[in-house]
């Protein structure tokens, strides 16, 4: 349980920084702000005020959440290991009886805890806004969305730590984190569309046609896309592309559970790869 000592120390350390407070304030402002903004949007339709319901807010939150959480997760985690190796505090950490695996696992847990605290506080304050201003509050849906958002926060923090463990240079760790974000969150659409172009001579399936399964699957691989797919899958309302294309039998690999599994894989794979690099390195 040596990683627990590392995690606790890392949480103490990060928790004493202004980062935790800044981050918490950011998520409170963001989540509660969005919950409030959504009430204005709902009322501006001109029709006799539609019912303000919390599930609508959750769908409304998906795209800003998938922008804010990845960025903040990578920012607070990407120097977790490389920064320590570069400054020399890793020498202190690893002089004590911690394996390098304990160090990486402890950092993943400690930093994820910091990130999750900030997100959780934001979600709770937003829930208060919903309870106060909305006509209905679907507690189950809100809790489910919250769990997925926390998983996204933890997995992006884990990815940041994993990338950080892969290099001894904190500048390079920043580049790795930025590259990861650009590839998986900004440019990923080009990958599926590029392959589709090579196969079919056009960039996307014609309107109305059902895209091939691999195309749908590929689009769900990035962490935030897996998060969105899971949210669409678990929340009531059959929203999302997969539900459109497969009204009945959704293939297993495009199911909501596959989306959750994808998220869990991200949570494990990148830190594991980072750890392997770290284990083999001379410090």
């Amino acid at each position: 349980m040596s990683w627990l000592a590392v995690a606790r120390k890392d949480f103490q350390d990060a928790g004493r920084s202004k980062a935790l407070w800044g981050l918490t304030a950011l998520f409170v402002l963001f989540m509660a702000g969005m919950a409030y903004v959504f009430t204005l949007l709902g009322n501006s339709g001109g029709q006799a005020a539609p019912e303000l319901e919390s599930v609508g807010l959750l769908f409304f939150l998906i795209s800003p959440v998938t922008l804010l959480i990845p960025i903040t997760g990578l920012v607070i985690a990407h120097k977790a290991v490389a920064g320590e190796v570069e400054s020399g505090s890793a020498k202190f950490l690893l002089s004590l009886p911690h394996t390098r695996r304990d160090a990486v696992v402890g950092k993943v847990v400690g930093r994820s805890a910091v990130m999750c605290v900030a997100v959780l506080v934001g979600l709770v304050v937003a829930a208060a806004v919903v309870l106060g201003l909305y006509d209905s509050f679907d507690g189950m849906a809100y809790a489910g969305f919250s769990l997925l958002a926390l998983l996204l926060a933890a997995l992006y923090t884990a990815i940041g730590v994993g990338l950080s463990a892969a290099t001894k240079d904190s500048g390079r760790a920043t580049i790795l984190a930025a590259a990861f974000f650009v590839v998986f969150e900004v440019a990923w659409g080009l990958v599926s569309r590029g392959i589709y172009y090579l196969l079919n001579g056009s960039f996307s399936p014609p309107m109305g046609a059902t895209p091939p399964d691999w195309f749908l699957l590929l689009d769900r691989i990035p962490p935030s896309a897996a998060f969105s797919s899971a949210v669409f899958g678990f929340l009531p309302g059959n929203a999302g592309t997969v539900a459109q294309y497969f009204p009945q039998d959704v293939p297993l690999y495009l199911s909501k559970w596959a989306a959750v599994a994808t998220m869990l894989l991200w949570f494990v794979v990148v830190p594991a790869l980072g750890y392997l690099r770290f284990e083999g390195a001379d410090l």
């Binding site: 120390k9 004493r16 020399g88 505090s89 020498k91 202190f92 690893l94 002089s95 004590l96 009886p97």
Partner: protein, 303 residues
């Protein structure tokens, strides 16, 4: 069982060989001073003992365990003061020590440890505000957690004033009296002289000497330099000095003879010079300093 044992350890970084076929044994219970100029490979050796760095070839064992495969078990039983140590700036001295105590499953009192290293008042201050000397004292306190069987101290006097360095040596002696083995590196010989049972001198990745300070001093052949001022220096006087047993070198500098000799032969040299009819106006002797001993090994031996 030796506390530290290195066999044929070589470490290469690309084209640079940091350690070359190093054999080193530190016996249980001794205080071993690991000397050498900066860049000689001292830190690389310590990094290998801690498994921060893996040797290109050779084996290293600590307390009878393999430095690579049993590293965690080793680190449970040793205390380390690393070089280039960097504190967690936002954590207090107490939090640093509690982390070490928890990590080692020890039961030390943080305040007692800080008292011992001379900074008891800093216990609840954040380490980011510490001076270099205070950080070094905190690091020493951390190394003492859990009564380690072996202390590995890399340049422990870094950042300490002379008084701090003296306190450091006192703690090293106390730990050895408790039964701990102490292995510490330094690039300054004076610091190891007072406390070490044995010293090893590392140069360019090789151990060039290993013995007690006294034995090294005599073996380095840096003896005594006797300077004799004469009314007139003659070849006969120089030859007479050269013939005295114990004299290793005689040179002429104006009206002075500069004689390298072991200290016992001093009066013999003066007698021999006077017997040639020369008039000794003045003479002075100079004992080889430890720096000369160190320099003799690190500069000449390898040449």
């Amino acid at each position: 069982m030796p506390a530290i044992e290195l066999h044929g350890v070589t470490k290469r970084y690309g084209d640079v060989t940091a350690l070359h076929d190093l054999d080193l044994t530190v016996e249980d219970g001794e205080i071993y001073g690991f000397l050498g100029p900066n860049g000689a490979g001292k830190s690389t050796t310590i990094d290998i003992l801690l498994d921060f760095v893996r040797p290109t070839s050779g084996t290293a064992s600590v307390l009878g365990m393999d430095a690579q495969t049993d590293s965690q078990a080793i680190r449970r039983r040793i205390g380390v003061l690393p070089e280039g140590f960097h504190v967690y700036e936002r954590l207090t001295a107490r939090q640093h020590l509690n982390f070490a105590i928890e990590s080692k499953g020890a039961s030390d009192d943080p305040e007692a440890l800080l008292e011992r290293v001379g900074i008891p008042d800093a216990v609840d201050r954040k380490a980011g505000g510490f001076s270099k000397g205070m950080q070094q004292r905190l690091a020493l306190a951390i190394s003492l957690v859990g009564e380690p069987d072996l202390l590995i101290l890399d340049e422990p006097s870094t950042g300490l004033d002379p008084n701090g360095a003296r306190e450091m040596r006192a703690i090293i002696t106390e730990e050895a009296d408790r039964g701990a083995t102490v292995f510490f590196s330094s690039h300054i010989l004076e610091q190891v002289e007072a406390v070490c049972d044995r010293v090893g001198i590392l140069k360019s990745g090789e151990l060039v000497a290993e013995d007690s300070i006294e034995a090294l001093r005599s073996a380095a052949d840096t003896g005594t330099t006797l300077t004799v001022t004469l009314d007139a220096v003659t070849d006969a006087a120089a030859d007479a000095a050269r013939d005295v047993p114990g004299v290793s070198e005689v040179s002429v500098d104006g009206d002075r003879l500069v004689v390298r000799t072991d200290s016992a032969a001093k009066t013999d040299v003066l007698d021999a010079v006077e017997s040639t009819g020369a008039d000794v106006r003045d003479f002075s002797t100079e004992q080889a300093s430890l720096d000369d001993v160190f320099a003799a090994y690190t500069e000449e031996v390898m040449a």
